[in-house]
Amino acid sequence: MKGPLSGLARGLAVTLATLGRPVVTAEYPDVTPTLAPRSRGVIALLEENCTVCMLCARECPDWCIYIDSHKETLEVEGAARARQRNVLDRFAIDFSLCMYCGICVEVCPFDALFWSPQFEYSETDIANMTHEKERLREWMWSVPPPPALDPGAPVAKEVDPSGRPARTAGATRAERPERPERPERPERPERAAGATRAERPERPDRADRPARRTPSPTTAATTPPTTPPTTPPPTPTTPPTPTPAPPPQDEP
């Protein structure tokens, strides 16, 4: 019988089938939700990595990042002149303005900003949604280690230079030849699954980085090392090829 009765029967069938299925209710405060990898909960700041380059504040579409800093002059024994470096005084993100686009995380050249899945920071007053660098630094502890590449994801250009065409002098983008075929996937299965640190021989030892960045032993003592031993896992997100050491912060 087609008509109203079949519709009624379908309604009963649908509700009965739903009764038999597991519920979709998330018992949130009682059960912590399983969040997707790369969940955008809050932006954490690894203060030690920040060089006050202001790129994040400039790129922020909402202008919700507030940065204050001052220059400190360091008298270096035996150097020709005093060295200067930036000291971060204030780094605050107004999460009532933030639209969680992640541009600041993307543009940060020194891996000082990270996405944390932590989302339980609601406030009763909108003015309290501005969080200072201490709170942002605390959130670094909740930043998960970088997830492994998806199965079948292309190998990063930095790791796999063979897949890149040779750059000819003066060649514009439009004239670039077609990319040659990548080597077959199965050849490097362990890379695609997420290369571990031990398998990257070209990677410099972290410990000697601060020494290269600040050659003077006196400054090395005053400046916090780029990666103190307390740093949580995310720091390995630095690309495997050694980043060029930041230019010395000297005044010309």
Binding site: L16, T18, L19, V23, E27
Partner: protein, 318 residues
């Protein structure tokens, strides 16, 4: 003296059933409806799966202000929840659970229960009229229209069973009931169930309440304990109608197990019908007012009359 004691005992038993069973149906509705919609329903009150949700609701309702609108007819406004609730208590006392297990084995029990439950609907009409609010009045009028339309098929369907059994006594009907009546009285059962749900103004026949357009109709001006009484009346109505359905069409305490467990059969059948009423509510959308009337007069009444003819023919032939 023992006779007086027995009367008191029976009254207390009915009152206990009257206070417990509607809450049980309400809690079942909470949970079954939630799971039919992929939700969990109440989970906190009472600790275990929110079993005390309705108790908590009752406490909340009791704490609320008892306000009467200025334009309302004060006496009637205060009286209406009682008019809606008490008849179901009276009706419940006449529904038998097992042979002898009935508060009052009335001779014309079927008539008594139907009459009492019809009075209960009047409580809503009174409330709608007394509220002095246009939505309440509209809701009350729709209630009245629905009562007029669905009382007839309800009574006709019940008459069919009474005719088949040859008695108006509810326990007599159960004794005369035989399993093949399930088929014989099936149209009457459908008509009775649909009319009962409409009489209770449960979805899909909740046009008089229609919270989206009439802001709960007759209940608009009610709050606190009086509103809770209306709610209780609705669930008590489900219990009474489900019990009546189980007794009339499902054979009450007839079942495979020993006679002593008969009351359990009646309760189980009542519960099953109550769950069906809840299920219907979840599955189907609300009907329009004209569709409501059309269903009653063009479908249910002719169907009930045809069933009556069939029953009469078989009763005469057998």
């Amino acid at each position: 003296m023992p006779e007086a004691l027995e009367v008191v005992l029976r009254a207390v038993a009915v009152l206990a059933a009257f206070l417990v069973l509607p809450l049980l149906v309400g809690q079942t509705e909470h949970k079954v409806m939630a799971h039919m919609q992929g939700r969990l329903g109440p989970m906190y009150a009472g600790g275990f799966h929110g079993w005390a949700q309705l108790v908590a609701d009752g406490v909340k309702f009791a704490q609320k202000e008892d306000s009467v609108p200025a334009a309302a007819d004060r006496t009637l406004f205060r009286l209406a929840p009682g008019i809606a609730l008490v008849p179901y208590l009276v009706a419940m006392s006449a529904i038998p659970l097992a042979p002898g297990v009935v508060a009052a084995d009335v001779d014309a029990g079927l008539l008594f229960v139907l009459a009492a439950s019809a009075v209960a609907v009047l409580g809503i009409l009174v409330g709608g009229w007394a509220s002095g609010n246009k939505y309440s009045l509209l809701g009350g009028m729709r209630t009245a229209a629905q009562l007029l339309a669905y009382e007839l098929p309800l009574v006709l369907a019940a008459t069919s069973v009474a005719m088949a059994a040859g008695t108006l006594r509810l326990s007599g009907i159960v004794e005369a009931w035989q399993p093949w009546w399930l088929l014989w009285q099936a149209p009457a059962a459908v008509v009775f169930l649909v009319s009962a749900v409409a009489e209770l103004q449960r979805p899909p026949f909740d046009m008089p309440i229609a919270d989206a357009e009439l802001v709960l109709g007759a209940y608009t001006e009610y709050g606190g304990l009086r509103f809770a009484l209306f709610l209780l009346a609705e669930y008590a109505g489900i219990v009474v109608m489900s019990g009546l359905f189980a007794v009339l069409f499902l054979g009450g305490w007839s079942g495979p197990f020993p006679e002593a467990l008969g009351w359990l059969w009646t309760l189980a059948k009542t519960g099953l019908v109550a769950v069906l009423v809840i299920w219907i509510r979840v599955a189907w959308p609300r009907m329009r007012e004209d569709q409501l009337q059309a269903l009653a007069w063009k479908v249910l009444v002719p169907l009930a009359l045809a069933q009556l003819v069939l029953t009469a023919a078989l009763v005469v032939a057998l």
